[in-house]
Symmetry: C2
Subunit: 317 residues, 2 copies
């Protein structure tokens, strides 16, 4: 989210690791992996891993670089498969892997990136591999619940909560838990950081879903409504006839095509107050993350983790 | 391959593990996983794992059951993704996951099965996870090389060898290596069993590709030429104008549709002598596996592993 920070060297090492670990002699796999890995992204999961390590008292953050890289790699692998299932053409302002290399190779590239998670994680031993395996299982379950809800065209608030808890918060939680554990922290500190990670993940995903409705397509690097088109957005959960007004100064930048059901739904959502309700939920989850991080002993890393909550809450892309 | 054997109890435990580990509360994932897991299959990879463990002097084969199950689960996960990419409708005589649940859910089900590999493997510690990660990387690379060759419509013998070495032999090799290592075997014994596994895997895949051309569809549970239609068969590698005759008593059971390019290619392959050349290669790989297994101290498990080579070479499905 910003660069002049206490983990700058380690975040640079994460970038190098992400690029070097995908160096297959099968050129297509290397190129497709490089395409998605180098397309930017917020790198929030490795950041949480490294800061949790330091906040938990770790002295050598470089030892957490492969772990941090693995967390980003899981996320990257799921993006490639998500984009196949969503028929998305743009991701982070660039053409998606499946749009450029086709579905067959995108499926294989996603599988490949996932094997690289495994490769990065294996040397860390059983505790970390068990935690990561559990997070990966939950992530796929969350994605599946989302696809089921999208297909059925309905999503209630509980289902939405379950989906974002598994598909997003589980990985944020694992990032914080593993970072803290690697630092040698005791159980209470590990669990407090894990709780921070979980609630930060929930906040992040709700904000992400809000941005899908009201974000600026140019800032976002993808069309607004792209997630909603897949029945993913938080809004579907909350469009229950609640009244309320919603205004946002970016609202006018989207051209409304009257016959497009997605555009219609977006207009309806903007007018229903659903965005405001979601915003309140994001604020509540952020509060829980703040409570958790306050239990962690003060340090520059702890302050950075606290600051990350505000950045996640205020982000516009 | 047969049931009245020295690892019968452990193979039953593998079946139970495969079924119980996929028990997600996301019903669709459970059902789709159960569908493919319960559809039979030869279970040759877990068999190699368990027999290598015993042949290497292991005393408690039950301790290798989760490892053996993970080996089968990798294979199962790739089948689900393969069937998406190949548009296959039948697998082991049953409808494929993607044909029944659709592409989106098949992709997620494959991902889910892969996360279960991770879950099964994690407790074994770093040696095993490093070996498994490496095998998984190679497997995806092999699948990708195959898809590239299929798309280009050309495959030479070296490319074919590289493909089957990575997509099939790497996992067989990992099965034998990990089984032997878990038994506490020394490096020479581990590597000899690994060499056995590698060459058994090559033999297995060449025979598999031959059966795709000459097999009985009813025995095979899928149409003949299904792999060839994806440019996968060994034959494409060897259809280089070599003359020779080929006869097989099942040959007449396939109806030749003159306009179908796959059927034409199959007829051409059958008449080119390519099947006989492939058969010779399978016999050569089997010989290498025999040489490797002869270096392993005699035991009932060692004899079973030796016998497995003959079963693989003679199988008709």
């Amino acid at each position: 989210m910003k660069d002049q920070d206490i983990i700058q060297a380690e975040m640079t090492a994460v970038e190098e690791t992400l690029t070097s670990v995908i160096n297959s002699d099968v050129e297509l796999l290397y190129e497709a992996s490089q395409h998605i890995v180098s397309s930017g992204g917020k790198r929030i999961r490795p950041r949480v891993t490294l800061l949790a390590y330091l906040a938990a008292g770790g002295q050598d953050a470089m030892s957490a670089v492969n772990l941090a890289s693995a967390l980003e790699m899981v996320h990257t692998a799921t993006l490639v498969h998500d984009d196949i299932n969503d028929h998305s053409l743009l991701r982070r302002g660039k053409i998606t892997v499946h749009a450029r290399w086709g579905r067959t190779f995108a499926l294989l590239a996603g599988d490949y990136l996932f094997t690289k998670v495994y490769e990065l994680m294996a040397p860390y031993g059983d505790f970390y591999n068990v935690v990561m395996a559990d997070a990966c299982v939950k992530l796929v379950e969350g994605e599946t619940l989302q696809a089921i809800a999208a297909k059925a065209g309905e999503m209630d608030r509980n289902t939405y909560k379950k989906i974002i808890s598994r598909k997003t918060a589980s990985l944020f939680e694992a990032a914080a838990r593993m970072g803290a554990k690697l630092a040698g922290a005791g159980e209470t500190l590990v669990e407090n950081l894990a709780a921070y990670g979980h609630n930060l993940g929930l906040t992040f995903q709700i904000v992400d879903d809000i941005l899908d409705i009201i974000g600026d397509p140019e800032t976002m690097g993808k069309p607004v409504g792209a997630d909603l088109a897949q029945g993913r957005g938080v809004m579907a959960a909350q469009n229950g006839g609640k009244s309320g007004s919603f205004s946002h100064d970016r609202q006018g930048t989207t051209t409304i095509i009257e016959d497009d059901p997605i555009q219609k739904m977006m207009t309806s959502l903007r007018e229903s107050g659903a965005v405001e309700i979601a915003r309140l939920q994001a604020i509540e989850m952020a509060d829980r993350a703040r409570t958790a991080i306050k239990t962690v002993p003060p340090s520059p890393a702890q302050a950075e983790l606290a600051n990350l909550i505000e950045l996640v809450l205020e982000r516009d892309q």
